[in-house]
Amino acid sequence: MITGILDSITIAKRDIIRSFRQKSQLYGSIVRPVIWLFLLGTGLRGSFNAPEGFTYTQYIFPGMIVMNILFASIMSGTSIIWDREFGFLKEIMVAPMSRASIVFGKTLSGSIIATIQGIIVLAFFPLVGLHLSFIQIILTMLGMFIVALSITSLGIMIASKMTSFEGFGTINNFLVMPLFFLSGALYPIDRVPAWLKPLIYINPVTYSVNLLRGIVLKTETNYLTDTGVIIIFALIILSITTYIFVKDRK
């Protein structure tokens, strides 16, 4: 068990060293949310009303954090495709490490990077006129990490079945946008038509948005349900991916 966790940390460490050598990804993660925040914040202000007490920009702020995490988390799946393409995945697979720790290590690195991307957005909170206590900031970061963990595990699972970047990109486009728009990141859920609600409630991103909105804006939410759904989702996906890795000896 301890060896397994140490193995995961080793795998994660390598990914993180690698990604800090590629700066462009980092710049993108700063620019993207800024653009979205101000475009959506001003553009959609007329179409949706934020609940009492918040500006629209403030209301969608937690959703913007989740969006940046969502992009980064799913993208981290490319690290597996990259490793397969350049042969390093064989070096990992032939090493005496449990397949579960390999999968968890990959997820861990993706989650850490995605959390950092979330923190970049969080740093803008004074600009949108929010006041956060130190405790709130720490809780937000913890929340971001479990959100990142669940979505990264999804990205890794998809990538473990993919052999090309193109295929992975296509799947992502079909996945990321619906996950985001059906999460209540941009509008209060109680105002959507009834037929959309089931889709929103089976979407793990919905619970992520609820959780972060609860912490950042102190809106009402059930923290137990939110964290429970997110963590259970992550565990299920991680188990499936481990199974895929164990069976991947064709």
Partner: protein, 324 residues
């Protein structure tokens, strides 16, 4: 003791029977070579032995561990240099070796020493801080060799360690490998389709179409031909080959403008050829059989047929492009 034991090993990919009931044993400390043309099934056997491919049937054990039931024990016992590149080119040479040591649970306090020693062995100590992407193909291959031995495996698998490298680099690599055998008690299992290179092996298994068709020491394999080969250049090779067939009932072969006559004793037979030739022989040479000749005798083909070698060149150049 048999460090590798393989019995009736089978593997198919859909319709393709890549490995058909192959059996062999490798002794501890041996250099064992698997020789065969493209698609013979060499890499498939190696992948099964290092646990990254599932076999269809038969048994295989390494260091007495079953490759199916005790995968992690097998993984601890082997090192591998894959046919295709497998370094992390965005990391430095040192980092590649560091992470490998961590993956194989080398004790922390030993890591530094082991990395330095194995870098020394392949002459890369000077370049250890550099990002691997800038290395030449030969340097990358040497780094892979250093990496393969850092966790002190029992068996080192080398799947075409010199593929896509120029002749001089190939010579270097073999030098390192022979050094390695002399310095450490290590079993090596290698594949190649450069016949000359197989000469360093203690024993060789020749593979074709998923079967092992011969297995012995290089000397015995060559002796099994029982032949010397007389190579002739004559004024008319085709005409002369017909004459040799008529007079001595010997099948000759053509090779690059020469005529090859297999005989049991070259020195005593050559005068007989001159006798029937009556001045038509322009030059003559006696050649001891090579492993290539063994392969031709066993399969009726050269190990790298013309069209195969064209495909090979393409493949090698693709590989080289990825290496550089």
């Amino acid at each position: 003791m048999n460090i590798i034991h393989v019995e009736k090993l089978k593997k198919s990919f859909g319709e393709i029977k890549a490995v058909k009931e192959v059996s062999f044993d490798v002794e501890e400390g041996e250099i064992f070579g698997l020789l065969g043309p493209n698609g013979a099934g060499k890499s498939t056997i190696i992948k099964i032995l290092v646990t990254i491919l599932k076999k269809d049937g038969g048994t295989a054990t390494i260091n007495n561990f079953d490759v199916e039931k005790e995968q992690n024990k097998v993984r601890e016992s082997v090192g591998i240099i894959f046919q295709d590149p497998s370094l992390d080119e965005r990391l430095t040479a040192w980092e590649n070796l560091y992470f490998h040591s961590k993956f194989y649970h080398v004790p922390s306090r030993e890591i530094k020493n082991r990395i330095n020693n194995s870098l020394d062995l392949v002459d890369l100590s000077e370049r250890k801080k550099e990002i691997v992407i800038n290395f030449s193909g030969g340097m990358k291959r040497r780094l892979e060799i250093a990496r393969g031995i850092i966790h002190t495996p029992k068996v080192l698998f080398l799947d075409e360690p010199t593929i896509g490298l120029d002749p001089q680099t190939r010579k270097y690599i073999w030098q390192y490998l022979v050094d390695l055998r002399d310095k450490q008690k290590l079993t090596m299992f290698l594949t190649t389709h450069y016949m000359e290179e197989a000469e360093i092996c203690d024993r060789i298994a020749i593979m074709d179409h998923g079967n092992i068709i011969a297995l012995d020491t290089p000397e015995n394999l060559k002796r099994s031909i029982q032949n010397d080969i007389i190579t002739l250049v004559t004024d008319n090779n085709i005409g002369f080959s017909i004459l040799v067939k008529e007079k001595f009932n010997i099948e000759t072969t053509f090779n690059n403008g020469t005529l090859e006559v297999p005989v049991s004793n070259g020195k005593t037979f050559l005068p007989k050829l001159f006798e029937i030739a009556g001045g038509r022989i322009l030059s003559a040479d006696i050649k001891k059989p090579s492993l290539e000749d063994v392969f031709i005798k066993l399969t009726g083909r050269k190990i790298r047929e013309e069209e195969a070698s064209k495909r090979d060149k393409l493949r090698d150049s693709v590989k080289r492009r990825r290496r550089t």
